[in-house]
């Protein structure tokens, strides 16, 4: 197969690019303290929340965009963005109390995306929080979870109903001073999901949030906070899509995970924001800060991500291994095509003794895309017997794409064992011919090779998500065969 044919194969249509025609209630464009006050007031927030937002905003004004990632984009005009957009029928305090009150158009949108919100139609065993532009429009299975003491609700609701938990944990892993985009998010975040799993409770179902950007020229700034108390465990899934538009849209989220003693959090993402068209027009700028802390001994945090969307992805889901014996894992597949750019990886910060971390990063680049793995493994002086194993593999599908690996290692304790393996390979014509000579069509052959390449990561995903991820990869790799 020639390179041209291979490229045609991986070109594909973005199937989630439709727009929901719904009446919006945006604030005026641009950002100042008044906008922040209005966001806070709309949500009926307590004073501490507004105060925190304003401190974050003032800090943000002193910061500059980071310049170290291998990504390129024209300057972002932060005054031409809508910082708050909500469907008129469901925003702020008008949030529907039950599904019966949710605008049918919104229900139809999620159905079209394959996320039915009516519980009897929903995937058994998965509770969903649906975030549409700036607000959460519905959360399923809430009542069932409440009987176990599990809190799963929109962030806005958590601020109102569980202010003490929010106050105690918000910003405790990603402070508002952390980085430019985290500061911006802390000032203007509009909604997101909140999870609290009490001591000793194993959450019986997957919790998930589905983020949808619909409004044009709006930014999406969601905030997710997940706390697993001592001995608790939870698996959380995140999915995202956006309409096809010619302009770039900013998505700057913050996710904080806190795992206390003996707790376990598994956080899985399938990120499929609109990636822009074949010429690189439009697409989401996905500038996200995700970090988890193993705050107690024997805590365990696993990040699994499948990143196929966005014009630019800038994200480093990380683990602070503070508790002794705690474990951090990062499993990643990042696929970039056309002019997409991804700079993604992780940081594993070993603080406690006998802490272990595993990093498996798989990058697939096609077209003119660029794909960078950037990772830091840091072992502090007190982290006796820390262990890390890192494996980074790149698969190149075209002659014009690029793959980079930037592993940083800082070790302050001589007992540490840090291993790094890396490989770069081209999808081979020989492999394709081999599979085709067994009767597999070109498309199936490419999919089989790519799926094999990603296997170590996919096996970390919850079953339904693994199926989704495989399909998504197949779609991202599919095209009009000549």
């Amino acid at each position: 197969m020639t390179n041209v044919e291979l490229q045609q194969r991986i070109d594909s249509e973005y199937r989630w690019g439709f727009v929901t025609d719904i009446e919006q209630e945006p604030f005026p464009k641009g950002l100042d303290e008044t906008v922040i006050q209005r966001i806070s007031a709309t949500k009926g927030e307590p004073a501490f929340m507004l105060d925190w937002r304003l401190r974050a905003y003032r800090h943000w004004l002193t910061r500059r965009e980071p310049g170290w990632a291998t990504v390129h984009h024209p300057p972002i005009d932060y005054q031409s963005i809508y910082y708050y957009a909500a469907p008129k029928s469901g925003g702020g305090s008008n949030r529907p109390k039950s599904l019966a009150e949710v605008d049918p158009q919104l229900l139809a949108t999620y159905e079209k995306l394959g996320i039915p919100l009516r519980e009897r139609e929903a995937l058994a065993g998965v509770a969903v929080d649906a975030v549409f532009d700036s607000v959460s429009v519905a959360t399923t299975f809430k009542a069932k979870l409440e009987t176990l003491g599990i809190v799963f609700c929109s962030f806005s609701e958590a601020v109102r109903e569980h202010p003490d938990l929010v106050r105690q944990y918000l910003g405790s892993v990603v402070p508002y001073t952390d980085n430019f985009f985290a500061s911006l998010n802390s000032a203007v975040f509009s909604d997101g999901s909140f999870v609290y799993v009490p001591k000793g409770v194993k959450c019986p179902m997957e919790l998930s949030t589905y983020f949808r950007i619909n409004a044009s020229n709006s930014g999406q700034f969601e905030r997710t906070l997940i706390i697993a108390d001592e001995g608790a465990s939870v698996s959380y899934l995140e999915g995202c899509t956006a309409p096809r538009r010619d302009e770039n849209q900013l998505h700057a989220a913050v996710v904080e995970l806190i795992a206390l003693k003996d707790a376990r959090i598994k956080y899985s993402t399938v990120q499929n924001w609109y990636p822009g068209d074949a010429e690189g027009r439009g697409g989401i700028y996905n500038f996200v800060t995700k970090r988890g802390e193993c705050r107690g001994d024997n805590a365990h945090i696993t990040w699994t991500q499948v990143e196929t969307g966005s014009a630019i992805t800038w994200k480093y889901p990380s683990c602070i291994l503070r508790g002794d014996n705690s474990v951090g894992e990062f499993y990643s597949v990042a696929l970039t095509n056309h002019h997409q750019q991804a700079d993604t990886g992780t940081k594993m910060i070993h603080i406690g003794r006998d802490t272990h971390s595993t990093i498996v990063a798989k990058g697939i680049s096609a077209g003119h895309a660029s794909n960078a793995y950037r990772g830091l493994v840091k072992v502090l002086a007190g982290a006796d017997n820390a262990r890390n194993h890192t494996r980074c593999d790149s698969l190149l599908m075209s002659p014009d794409c690029a793959a980079h690996t930037f592993p940083y290692i800082e070790v302050k304790n001589p007992s540490a064992q840090v291993e790094h393996e890396a490989s770069t390979s081209k999808i081979g014509e020989d492999q394709l011919f081999y599979l085709r000579s067994r009767g597999l069509g070109e498309e199936d052959a490419v999919n089989l090779i790519v799926n094999g390449f990603c296997k170590e990561v996919f096996k970390e995903l919850p079953m339904e998500f693994a199926v989704e991820a495989r399909k998504l990869l197949a779609v991202s790799l599919e095209g009009a065969v000549g």
Binding site: T2, D430, F433, L435, R436, S437, G439, E442
Partner: protein
């Protein structure tokens, strides 16, 4: 079943096959021998539909249809199978996954019902027994970390699962120990039948003691310079290819 007429093939302007003529009938076994670099694998790969060859003259008909316009997968679905001289590794793809995808792909293309996972497992286990292979082979990545001999055996496993009508085995015997050779030969022989044909590319007459060919051909300089019965293989084994050189040179030199 297969008619090759005056086939000329070049790679990047370099002629490799210079007029191959070969006819194979259903039920027959043909052996192709010849020195290194004479074009045996090229012929095998051209028949399986590999890209990148310039077919400048000649024709190939399979089951009375023009074979050359077909893609590799169409040929596979029509019953052609090539056991590779150098089987490829597909990391992360379990052998059983490839086998089932391939078989069901072919069945679908032929309008037959697909085999479900359970039926398939039973089916493939019989084939494993036939080839003296362990179940664990099913769950290892395709050829990854396989020894040279295991890779060859795995090619025969694929063949046994797919049950092709025309199987082309490119040096499947190279690198096999005596026991493995007998097992593989048994696997090939059990596929023989009046509807099927087999082409064995080999350097060693040894294989032909186990799989007795109807015809033996010698490929040299991109041409079949000699054809005969199995005694030709024995002659080659004792004399080498040198005694054929005169004829090859004569043909090369012709106008």
């Amino acid at each position: 079943m297969l008619q090759i007429r005056n086939l000329h093939v070049a790679i990047g302007g370099k002629p490799i096959l210079n007029g191959i003529d070969l006819t194979i009938h259903p039920g027959e076994v043909h052996a192709i021998m010849g020195p290194n670099g004479s074009g045996k694998s090229t012929l095998a790969q051209v028949l399986a539909g590999r890209d990148g060859y310039d077919i400048s003259a000649g024709s190939v008909h399979y089951l009375d249809k023009d074979l050359l316009p077909l893609t590799p997968e169409q040929r596979a679905r029509a019953g052609i199978f090539l056991a590779f001289q150098y089987p490829l590794e597909i990391p992360g793809v379990a052998n059983v996954q490839l086998l089932r995808t391939a078989l069901n792909g072919q069945r679908r293309a032929r309008g037959e019902a697909e085999m479900d996972a359970i039926d398939f497992l039973e089916y493939v286990k019989d084939k494993l027994v036939l080839l003296g292979m362990d179940d664990s082979f099913l769950y290892r990545s395709v050829n990854e970390g396989f020894s040279g001999g295991e890779k060859k055996r795995n090619e025969i496993l694929q063949m046994a699962v797919l049950e092709p009508r025309l199987a082309i085995l490119d040096e499947t015997d190279s690198g096999l120990d005596i026991d493995a050779l007998q097992v593989v030969a048994h696997g090939v022989n059990s596929l023989r039948g009046p509807e099927r044909a087999i082409v064995l590319v080999t350097h060693y007459q040894r294989l032909l003691n186990y799989i007795v060919p109807d015809q033996v051909h010698v490929l040299a300089g991109g041409r079949i310079v000699r054809s005969g019965g199995r005694e030709l293989a024995e002659e080659l084994d004792s004399k080498g290819y040198a005694w054929l050189d005169d004829k090859a040179e004569f043909i090369e030199a012709s106008p």
